[in-house]
């Protein structure tokens, strides 16, 4: 297993109290595999990714428990210096907003070349040649002429491709992409996802794709983990989950999106709102919104991740009913 996150817990100490952003998350990704992490705003997707990358905003954030095994080693036990070496060289991250993650006062060529001079000790001339090569590889037209341009001189889609180039530069074994196409138009999104998938295949990388788009998941993922209030509530191979969800939250999400290929009837709407992370309800965190809720045990006990099949889990006491109903 390339990445194996076990029972990860993260808290934020804020003025309004302690926000329990991640409450016992288990995830794993193999080389060459794409795991989608799906969830609504505030469910803890980005915080999980930041903890894995070691770039958590701390304070106020703090990992309070769990293990992050990367190639068998627990990253939480490593010194910052060692983690910095791994970051970039062995695992890299792609963010939603390329413009704010690229340095606006450096040319893209300089930023790409820096990866090679800093991590690989290359000469500036060689590094620059590699930068052009990379820009070519992510299909920036006229890369040789544009290597000295600044980020704002590129379109949104090109900037996102440059971010991908930067993440790929050192051929890491794991990429975490946090909503990499959310800010892009569909036709550009298709170009970028296509490119990401192609490079992943070529380099046999593990990919963790964070998204709230059930369409994107269905298009590219092998497996999916659904997050709710800082927990994984369902985890399954993509085909199985879309065919028959084993958690009422997943079922609700699938029913609430309109379809492109037919005119549907009235949309199903999950009632209410996700809980505040400073005030997660006792028992199952989904219980105030759940159409299948029963007073016991749903309102008193936190459901563990039940094994639904060898490679499937659901954090619902009544997963069987959900799966077959």
């Amino acid at each position: 297993m390339l990445l194996d996150v076990r029972d990860l817990r993260v808290e934020f100490r804020t003025r309004d109290g302690v926000a329990h952003a991640v409450n016992g998350v288990n995830l794993s990704v193999d080389a060459g595999e794409t795991l989608a992490v799906l969830g609504e705003s505030g469910s803890g997707k980005s915080v999980t990714a930041q903890a894995v990358m070691g770039i958590l905003d701390s304070p106020p954030g703090r990992v309070t428990g769990g293990e992050i095994l990367f190639k068998g080693r627990d990253l939480l036990g490593l010194k910052e210096e060692e983690r910095r070496r791994i970051r970039g060289a062995e695992m890299a991250m792609i963010f939603q907003d390329a413009l704010s993650s690229l340095n606006p006062v450096l040319t893209v060529g300089a930023q790409l070349a820096e990866m090679f001079t800093v991590h690989r000790g290359m000469s500036r001339k060689d590094a620059r040649a590699r930068a052009v090569e990379l820009m070519d590889r992510v299909r920036i037209p006229a890369a040789r002429e544009r290597v000295d341009d600044y980020p704002h001189q590129f379109s949104g889609g090109m900037r996102q491709r440059i971010m991908i180039a930067m993440a790929m530069a050192l051929e890491p074994s794991l990429i975490i992409a946090d909503e990499p196409t959310t800010a892009l138009d569909v036709t550009v999104q298709a170009q970028v996802m296509d490119l990401l998938a192609e490079l992943q295949r070529e380099l046999d990388m593990g990919l963790v794709l964070i998204t709230h788009d059930l369409g994107v998941v269905a298009d590219v993922a092998d497996r999916i983990a659904v997050m709710y209030a800082g927990r994984i509530v369902e985890s399954a191979p993509v085909h199985d989950l879309y065919k028959a969800p084993a958690h009422p939250y997943t079922r609700g999400l699938l029913a609430s999106i309109p379809r492109l290929d037919q005119k549907g009837r009235e949309l199903y709407a999950i009632k209410g709102l996700p809980p505040s992370l400073t005030d997660i309800p006792p028992g199952c965190p989904f219980n105030p919104r759940c159409p299948m809720v029963r007073d016991t045990p749903c309102r008193t006990e936190v459901p563990p991740l039940f094994e639904v099949a060898a490679d499937r889990g659901s954090a619902c006491f009544f997963w069987e009913e959900c799966l077959h109903g």
Binding site: E40, P141, V186, Q189, S256, I257, R259, K263, L267, A269
Partner: protein
């Protein structure tokens, strides 16, 4: 809510879109047959040749115009009573500018906007004010479109300052509470501030404000784009319910093509300031004839992993050209895989393509392409 339902005697709007297209191919004939006899009556809005060119200037002391951003460049369409017209297209194609022109927030460079037969681009003063009451808008961003220092009551009641005839002073609070109730918020909340509400609740506040003056047309510019999936469904359902209740006509702008299909009776596709294809939802989604529409639809990721190997993807190369310097002829030709010499010379007009004219086929709708042909890109082969 008696005052709000002004159109109880409305005829049932013929809703073609309720035909449930399970398999587009086998039902093609049925759909076309239902569609033909629809009589929508007089349009409530008629847009003709609408243009908005923003001047590009150079120089600091003496500004001189060096060109123009052709944000909207000759747009024509109709909106009928009680229907929803969806407008889709990529970022920068001019959707919001169309909305602003219809709201009179921008001055048109050319063209006409007829509201019940009257050209509102030529109205001013009292006459304009009277018309504007009937056309309202709901904005995209529930986080920035509400003034954080005003109470919800003041926000929703603000339109009454301009149109006191709708709600006399003493009656306002009651009116606002009614509106809160209509959009599914607790009427007790009138003294709260926007930050005390979630995104979906704020969007409901924006909708309540849009309804305050009993308008006939509501222009919705990306009303649910900022919301989570589960909350999106709540707001969409609310908008559909209100439309039925008050016989509203919607122009619904969004970049999510699935949501637009869900809510719209007809859909217009925009590219670089122009409408390139327009028709009923079945015509556009199941029988698109314009290459751009086909590329757009084929790129939408669908929530069906079984279909991923069987769907054709048209991956466009290149970027959208600048609206300050659009290509000659067909503005899509720089990215179109079907472009020929004629496309650079002759601008294709938005019309029913000759070969489909009069034919009993769903391809029989307006499309601005010299080589329009049907291609289903949405349903897996």
């Amino acid at each position: 809510m008696a005052e709000l339902s002004k159109n109880d005697e409305r005829e049932a709007t013929p809703n073609v879109s309720e035909v449930d297209v399970v398999d587009a191919h086998s039902e093609t004939e049925a759909v076309a047959a239902v569609e033909a006899p629809v009589d929508r009556g007089e349009p409530i809005l008629q847009i003709r040749g609408l243009k908005k060119h923003f001047p590009l200037t150079q120089g600091i002391l003496f500004k001189r115009q060096v060109g123009a951003v052709k944000a909207v460049d000759g747009v024509s369409f109709d909106l009928y009573q009680g229907e929803t017209l969806g407008i889709v297209g990529e970022s920068g194609c001019g959707k919001s500018t169309v909305a602003k022109l219809l709201m009179n927030l921008e001055q048109a460079t050319a063209g006409e906007i007829f509201y019940k037969g009257q050209d509102i681009t030529r109205l001013s003063g009292r006459a304009l004010k009277a018309v504007r009451r009937n056309i309202q808008m709901v904005f995209q961003d529930p986080y920035t479109s509400l003034n954080p220092r005003m109470t919800v009551g003041d926000i929703i009641g603000e339109p009454f300052d301009i149109h006191p005839e709708v709600a006399p002073k003493g009656d306002r609070r009651r009116k606002v509470q009614e509106l809160l109730d209509v959009v599914g918020l607790n009427p007790e909340y009138v003294n709260r501030y926007p930050h005390q509400f979630s995104g979906g609740q704020r969007q409901r506040i924006g909708i309540a404000r849009g309804l305050a003056l009993n308008p006939e047309v509501i222009i919705c510019d990306e009303p649910v784009s900022a919301l989570d999936v589960s909350v999106q469904a709540q707001v969409i359902n609310l908008m559909e319910k209100l439309q039925d209740e008050f016989d509203l006509s919607y122009i619904f702008i969004a970049h999510d093509l699935s949501i637009v299909r869900h809510i719209s009776d007809r859909v217009g596709v925009m590219y670089l300031g122009k409408v390139v294809e327009i028709g009923s939802d079945e015509q556009i989604y199941d029988h698109p004839t314009h290459p751009y529409t086909q590329a757009l639809l084929s790129a939408v990721p669908q929530p069906d992993p079984e279909a991923r190997e069987h769907r054709e993807r048209i991956i466009l190369t290149g970027d959208v050209p600048s609206p300050a310097n659009p290509p000659s002829g067909c503005s899509f030709r720089t990215r179109c895989w079907k472009a020929e010499a004629r496309c650079a010379e002759e601008t294709p007009l938005l019309a029913v393509p000759q070969r489909f004219q009069g034919g009993d086929t769903p391809a029989n709708h307006e499309s601005a392409c010299h080589f329009a042909e049907e291609k289903d890109v949405v349903h897996a082969a």
